[in-house]
Subunit: 168 residues, 8 copies
Amino acid sequence: MKPLVSIIMGSTSDFPVMEAAAKFLDEYKIPFEINALSAHRTPGEVERFAKGAEARGLKVIIAAAGMAAHLPGVIASMTNLPVIGVPIKASLEGLDALLAIVQMPPGIPVATVGINASLNAGILAAQIIALQDEELADALKKHKEALKLKIIKANEELSRIQFTYKVG
Amino acid sequence: MKPLVSIIMGSTSDFPVMEAAAKFLDEYKIPFEINALSAHRTPGEVERFAKGAEARGLKVIIAAAGMAAHLPGVIASMTNLPVIGVPIKASLEGLDALLAIVQMPPGIPVATVGINASLNAGILAAQIIALQDEELADALKKHKEALKLKIIKANEELSRIQFTYKVG
Amino acid sequence: MKPLVSIIMGSTSDFPVMEAAAKFLDEYKIPFEINALSAHRTPGEVERFAKGAEARGLKVIIAAAGMAAHLPGVIASMTNLPVIGVPIKASLEGLDALLAIVQMPPGIPVATVGINASLNAGILAAQIIALQDEELADALKKHKEALKLKIIKANEELSRIQFTYKVG
Amino acid sequence: MKPLVSIIMGSTSDFPVMEAAAKFLDEYKIPFEINALSAHRTPGEVERFAKGAEARGLKVIIAAAGMAAHLPGVIASMTNLPVIGVPIKASLEGLDALLAIVQMPPGIPVATVGINASLNAGILAAQIIALQDEELADALKKHKEALKLKIIKANEELSRIQFTYKVG
Amino acid sequence: MKPLVSIIMGSTSDFPVMEAAAKFLDEYKIPFEINALSAHRTPGEVERFAKGAEARGLKVIIAAAGMAAHLPGVIASMTNLPVIGVPIKASLEGLDALLAIVQMPPGIPVATVGINASLNAGILAAQIIALQDEELADALKKHKEALKLKIIKANEELSRIQFTYKVG
Amino acid sequence: MKPLVSIIMGSTSDFPVMEAAAKFLDEYKIPFEINALSAHRTPGEVERFAKGAEARGLKVIIAAAGMAAHLPGVIASMTNLPVIGVPIKASLEGLDALLAIVQMPPGIPVATVGINASLNAGILAAQIIALQDEELADALKKHKEALKLKIIKANEELSRIQFTYKVG
Amino acid sequence: MKPLVSIIMGSTSDFPVMEAAAKFLDEYKIPFEINALSAHRTPGEVERFAKGAEARGLKVIIAAAGMAAHLPGVIASMTNLPVIGVPIKASLEGLDALLAIVQMPPGIPVATVGINASLNAGILAAQIIALQDEELADALKKHKEALKLKIIKANEELSRIQFTYKVG
Amino acid sequence: MKPLVSIIMGSTSDFPVMEAAAKFLDEYKIPFEINALSAHRTPGEVERFAKGAEARGLKVIIAAAGMAAHLPGVIASMTNLPVIGVPIKASLEGLDALLAIVQMPPGIPVATVGINASLNAGILAAQIIALQDEELADALKKHKEALKLKIIKANEELSRIQFTYKVG
């Protein structure tokens, strides 16, 4: 089994945030790997990883980092695979990481999701892979249906709340 | 009894914030309904709700959402009823939700209140309905008087605080 | 003819921004008035205006101000009519005016629209008045249709742009 | 004993923040009063207070408020006494209150201090009063000396921290 | 020729910004289409577009919008294709559009690029399509090389600038 | 004639902004002086100025600076006279200067006015001096009346604007 | 033993943040001193310190302060030694301190590190001293290697996390 | 002549901003070099540059970049020389570049100067080099004196401005 998605994080302390991406990929049976690599502390390893990613069969890279979050952009500069960036909230409410990831210069895009939005990074990776995998595409459609059902159930809870002038 | 106001929230987890709006409407005997609908997860339900709102006799819609808060704007795009938007504080101190609700493009207004300001959303809805309901208009006047009395009472508390050079 | 909507602005220099609201009301035949009143420079006049608004038959007040924009909130504190606040961009990209208008304390709502969004203020006022005026309600529906047609026409423009790999 | 300084706050819940101002005035024997008045909930009382302030012998007004903090500006619009504004941190880290107080339009200044900086408001009031009270001016000089001594003492604490390569 | 990428913008006035994406796709021979659709003014058209996108053979959608930019998120809620969001700078330096696009709730990702970063949106779309198109993958590698050469050429320019103490 | 107010600015390039303060003081016959002193480039001169200010008969200091605006705070640390700070807009819309002036630590207040709000600094200085100068106090009352008249006149302008449904 | 680095902080309450700088210098055997000095409360002591720093053999000054953080800039204005500024997070998430330190006017630089980034201040000081101390330069290279090893170890932790579709 | 300082910029379009650093180094006879290197477009060249910098005799690196400005941090991760970061204003008033440069993770400092503050970067580099070059140290002292004289001259200009109540 070769991984299709690689989850890279700047520090293992980001794992509690990134776990949701891993769980989503696992649930949808998308082979993945997880590594901690730092754009600043292990630049050589980052380079080796990024330059070899395509040849190893990876399709999407999810890179998470906080503060002056360079990891997603640095990886994107060394591969042509789509790189999904997850800004980690570590300071300034995560605004520094968001801007350091999303505001990439012309030529090197990073597909940025919301602050700490690791689940959405997993889903976006799956959507990209699903372009070549009909079974996965079907599973994602069911996932969307499931989201809807959750809301409908939530509505039932609300319907049990009692007020004198509440209708329905 | 048909509802005049509909409180819509993106997720049931917003209910603790939105309860103040419900309580205010209840206290002022304005029939209302509460539902959870998500602009992103149940777009079909949102459409059905918004397009049918006027015909069902609703007068005002209160829509609450956090983060990239699209719900109030999406509803506003499908009805001509006044839509009151409540930005929920879920990230970035609520600034993302505030901007995503208030900065609507020309043509589709959302009447935005403050971050988590659910009580004010309830009062604003009541003010709009009171334009056709003199009894309610009178009740709102009394409510404003009551606010004043609360401040005056608070003053009495302050008058009991002792300092050597405090006068009065 | 008695005005139903009153447009108040902190300074006549705000008129170029507020003109869109006036034009919209005019086009939809909603009687209105325009005045310059300053929460800080003419507090007495503001009070007289706000306290007398309801008795004069006004239904909605549109108040525009920039910087530490107190006008909408101060008016809202002295009337139970719905007050629509328009933050004028005069400094800090308009963020100061937006926060000074929207972040009202519990009890006194201001229905805030976007920065310089005077047209949306006019439409919101019309939506509120339309609750008691079926003809206006119908006109607003047509206005929404017209917005759609504009977009559709815009699309035709885009369809004339030529690229080798552009389809359609 | 007539008060020279009046501390006004938008809500009694602001008292824990404003206590430092009261304590400073008390320690420096400056007669003062404390009241809760809301620009939005008791506009009439605010007007009565502001218009009568000078005649009652007040010299400085300290006004504290949070969120869309209009109180200091509204008072400043109705008196020529210097008004010191204290932004209370209630939302958005206090940035909304700071901007709503400091960004006053030309003609009506508010002497703004930092977010929750009630002690500095008390000192600033004392500095203004000291212009006519030499004894107080001398006491403030001693206060400044005392601040210095505190830092010097703090230094002694630091000098007791041990590191191998720490000198002195 | 069926389009693989669809460029959607909230208004034709966004075309000057979005042209770079179109040009890139054209240069790399990726069939695409361009349309103006508004989440708020043409919600029905948006729905029809989003729900039919996959069946029409589209692989990636690029959606651009300004202010309270709901278009990318609304489309993402109705398709499982990857949606790339481009925040258009129309107010608040583009920060409102960025937050309204990137801060999507759990379940519905939008692959956000920088403010006005339409070229990067085109490249990201190409990277996703290149996962199934080796020829395109090779072309993108050459594009990255070309970026490098531009910098190297720029360096030659710098080397011609003369200072007394400048070396090389 | 000895100056009562001293206007200090970090650089002569701030004079066009600070001119309004000078003109106001001149019009109200308050003797003043103007100097350029830099907290960072002429710290010795700043110290001499600040420490000698009270003895020279000054009553109020107006200090203006941009960017990391230290001048008002540094002066305030060396005098017990009230110091009015004017944040000059030189970068980041003036937000850096505002925060660097207003967020003073406990013990050393700066009476901050709005960004570039030099006129308000002049008025605030006059209000402080008027506490000991009845004639000036009267003049300031007239100034406030004049502000009101300006607004009333502006209103007349507005009343001449013609719309079909405009009333009054 | 004469100190090469001086750590100055605005208040002893900053010591828990600044301890990391002290520990780093201690571990790398760089003689240092620690003092509390306030730009605002002990300006005389700050001046004496800054003007005498070079003659006492100091090579680098680390200055930490929060809020309207003037200390680093004020010291920099009175010495030609490199001054490293550490913004302390005390309000507004530390953004006020960051801007008040980094946005220095032309002529007086402060080498600013991140919010609360005291360790980085220590390392930067060491890097500057290492320009004249080969042994230290070698030690810093080993430190960088050690950072890398930490990440590699962290990776081993991650490799032990089990998912069904996790590879490696 | 071997360069002691290297000025690196992300793009030649940054040269007009960075020219002030070059001119300062030139005036103070500090040998330097200028290159354009992009963290994202020429990562290999950046690595070669950073890893070889110390051996080539460089003492300080000045790195300038805009938007998601990774260049200074990426260089700092591959050398132990002090790296001075200059945030270039290209979007969001330069706030994105500032945060992306200054908020570096623990272990890898960047000595950040203000937005577009290229002159200060040059001076800071000179201050570091002056630690080993007494002649340069003396020249920098004279530079500081010259700054003072400029202010004093500016004062003379101000003294020529005439007002009736202006003293001196």
